[in-house]
């Protein structure tokens, strides 16, 4: 009754690839007409977040154990809310200063949920990797939150490093585990 390892690996590396696309689109600099870096208003990131949320909710539905369902639905909710708010900001229908903090807070919350996931199932499959990935997400969220609060706009934000680490881990670890 357990799903094949290859399917689980596929779900996770696809989610990792989606996350990599999101952070590259969000954090690689866009050079505006005046030659200065400007904030991306592409709707790719928010829709990717919403699609990711649906994917995570799919994991809620197809999970084999209840605690996996509970953690994944919280991840799905965070991604959906972040995607909807980002979409509204980028389409110009809802603009508030605090919206700059949506993505960092989403990353931070998802990272904390990784730690909760490990706490619920401490010797589960890949628990130490979950712990490391949670810490990477928390580091990325905190670094980006600091950037937003201090209103800094570096060409390449420091948060990109741990967030890319998280995305690459989400791609590489399941593939390695399944092969």
């Amino acid at each position: 009754m357990i799903l094949p390892q290859i399917q689980i690996a596929r779900a996770h590396w696809i989610l990792g690839a989606l996350f990599l696309a999101i952070i590259l689109d969000e954090y690689l600099p866009v050079i505006g007409g005046d030659g200065r870096p400007t904030r991306s208003r592409s709707v790719v990131v928010p829709w990717a977040l919403i699609i990711g949320a649906v994917g995570v909710w799919a994991t809620v539905v197809f999970a084999d154990v209840v605690h996996d369902m509970l953690i994944h639905f919280l991840w799905g909710d965070i991604l959906f809310a972040a995607g909807a708010l980002e979409l509204a900001r980028r389409r110009g229908v809802y603009e508030r200063p605090w919206l700059d903090g949506v993505l960092p807070v989403a990353f931070l919350s998802c990272g904390i949920l990784f730690l909760v996931h490990v706490e619920v199932d401490p010797s589960g499959q890949g628990a130490h990797w979950h712990l490391a990935m949670g810490l990477l997400l928390i580091a990325g969220g905190v670094l980006d939150l600091v950037r937003v609060v201090r209103r800094r706009s570096p060409v390449v934000p420091l948060a990109l490093v741990p967030l890319m680490g998280f995305a690459l881990a989400l791609i590489a670890i399941p593939v390695a585990a399944a092969s």
Binding site: M1, Q7, I14, D34, V54, G55, V65, F73, A88
Partner: protein
């Protein structure tokens, strides 16, 4: 002169790519639990010709023999398994009675509870197989239930269909045509309508998840805290509860995505809201599918769904009218009165067939579920149905008063505020009727 922004990095995703990713993501799942049941003999949902001598369960890791529990039930009778389960590493075997004591044909429910050797985690689950009979969904364990929660969660799911399906359909059939006729855009009310529907869809999505888990709990039994380690797949796949939850979850996510689309795309807002409303009403079929009428045949299932949709249109319409009256309050009387009056008159025409369909379908379902007239007073199902009927009749009387006496006065130019208090009372009565409907949906009909 300004240039369009250029990106140093790659653009990775296109809409088609996003759709492909969504499709691929929809297939798999994760697993990181302990002592997960990998295979069984007889297998889950199998149909055997003879009663098996034993049931063999194979887990993905070793389990503790001392704590291994396996019970086998045929119909509602427990089978006397020969001694405690025999455990060898990750394989657990229970021996069933043979010869004259062998249980006969029927649907067998196997309920297991294991403790993993390495970390001491408890996992549990249940599945069914048949002997010369179709396996039924796993039977609930005796004496295991969660008070109040199933009724509350069922009510929240009804409320979701009403708030998303009923109010958005009101918008498509009543408010938008009325606003167009009066030359208004209705943008002022759109954000409120979207938020009401988002709240309804989000509440129903989560109530569906917890309703499924609460519904699954009596099937596996055990301690409430252990439910987090329940292996859930057989219950999701093997019961209408699980199948309906699977479908409605994705449908609610679709509704939420449509609502987000409507929020950020004013040009296509009305079309997206109308689709979201229709989809929300369609989700009501999942609720009917997982409830009692499904066992009474296709016609009863259809009647239950029609009953639910008619209720959603009536209750949702009345709630939308009350919200419209509130949203329009800051406007001048000259702006407010024509719009609310036009909506009241249009809704009044829509409500009449909805109420008739609701009453006819409800009456038919009551006749199907109650074996005798005395069951109305002699069973908890009958008493709840009686209370629901009384509340419905009170709301119906109020609606008839609105249509027969209040509407003609408003049509003749009386202020729309004339209806405010009685409309609030009608909303209250209808929400109470929904509460009673939720209780009814979780109460076993008399046999």
């Amino acid at each position: 002169m300004t240039r369009a922004p250029t990106r140093l990095g790659p653009r990775v995703l296109s809409p088609a790519g996003c759709a492909l990713v969504l499709l691929l993501l929809a297939v798999p799942a994760s697993a990181s639990a302990h002592a997960v049941l990998v295979t069984s003999v007889p297998s889950w949902n199998a149909v055997d010709r003879v009663t098996p001598r034993q049931v063999t369960l194979t887990y993905d890791e070793d389990v503790v023999a001392h704590y291994a529990q396996v019970t086998v039930v045929v119909g509602t009778s427990a089978v006397d398994v020969a001694g405690p389960p025999r455990v060898s590493g990750n394989v657990v075997v229970v021996t069933l009675p043979s010869g004259a004591r062998a249980p006969g044909a029927g649907s067998y429910t196997v309920r297991w509870r294991m403790v993993a050797s390495d970390d001491g985690h408890v996992t549990q689950g249940a599945f069914s197989f048949g002997v010369r009979a179709k396996p039924l969904p796993p039977a609930p364990a005796k004496g295991v239930s969660v008070p109040v929660a199933p009724q509350l969660l069922a009510w929240l799911q009804f409320l979701g269909v009403v708030l998303a399906g009923g109010t958005l359909t009101f918008r498509a059939l009543v408010l938008s045509p009325a606003a167009r006729k009066l030359g208004e855009h209705g943008d002022r009310e759109a954000s409120v309508a979207i938020w009401v529907a988002v709240v309804g869809a989000a509440v129903a999505l989560h109530a569906g998840l917890f309703g499924f888990l609460i519904g699954a709990y009596p099937i596996v039994g055990g301690g409430l805290l252990n439910v987090v380690n329940t292996e859930i797949i057989p219950i999701r796949v093997g019961t209408h509860l699980g199948q309906a939850w699977t479908l409605t979850t994705f449908a609610w996510l679709g509704v939420l995505a449509l609502l987000v689309g409507a929020w950020v795309t004013p040009r296509r807002r009305e079309a997206l809201l109308a689709v979201a409303g229709v989809l929300s009403l369609g989700i009501g079929f999942g609720i009917s599918w997982a409830s009692h009428p499904d066992a009474r045949g296709t016609f009863a299932l259809a009647a239950d769904y029609v009953h639910l949709v008619a209720a959603a249109l009536w209750v949702g319409g009345v709630i939308a009218l009350a919200i419209l009256a509130g949203v329009a309050r800051p406007l001048s009387r000259a702006e407010r009165e024509p719009l609310v009056r036009e909506c009241l008159l249009r809704f009044s025409r829509l409500a009449v067939p909805s109420v008739i369909v609701l009453a006819v379908a409800g009456g038919y379902l009551a006749l199907r579920e109650l074996p005798t007239l005395s069951a109305v007073l002699n069973s908890s199902y009958g008493v709840t149905l009686l209370l629901k009927s009384i509340v419905f009749l009170a709301a119906f009387a109020l609606a008839a008063y609105h249509r027969g006496l209040v509407m003609p006065r408003i049509a003749a130019g009386a202020p729309v505020a004339t209806i405010r208090r009685t409309l609030t009372l009608e909303v209250t009565l209808l929400l109470l009727a929904l509460v009673l409907a939720a209780i009814l949906s979780q109460t076993a009909p008399p046999t």
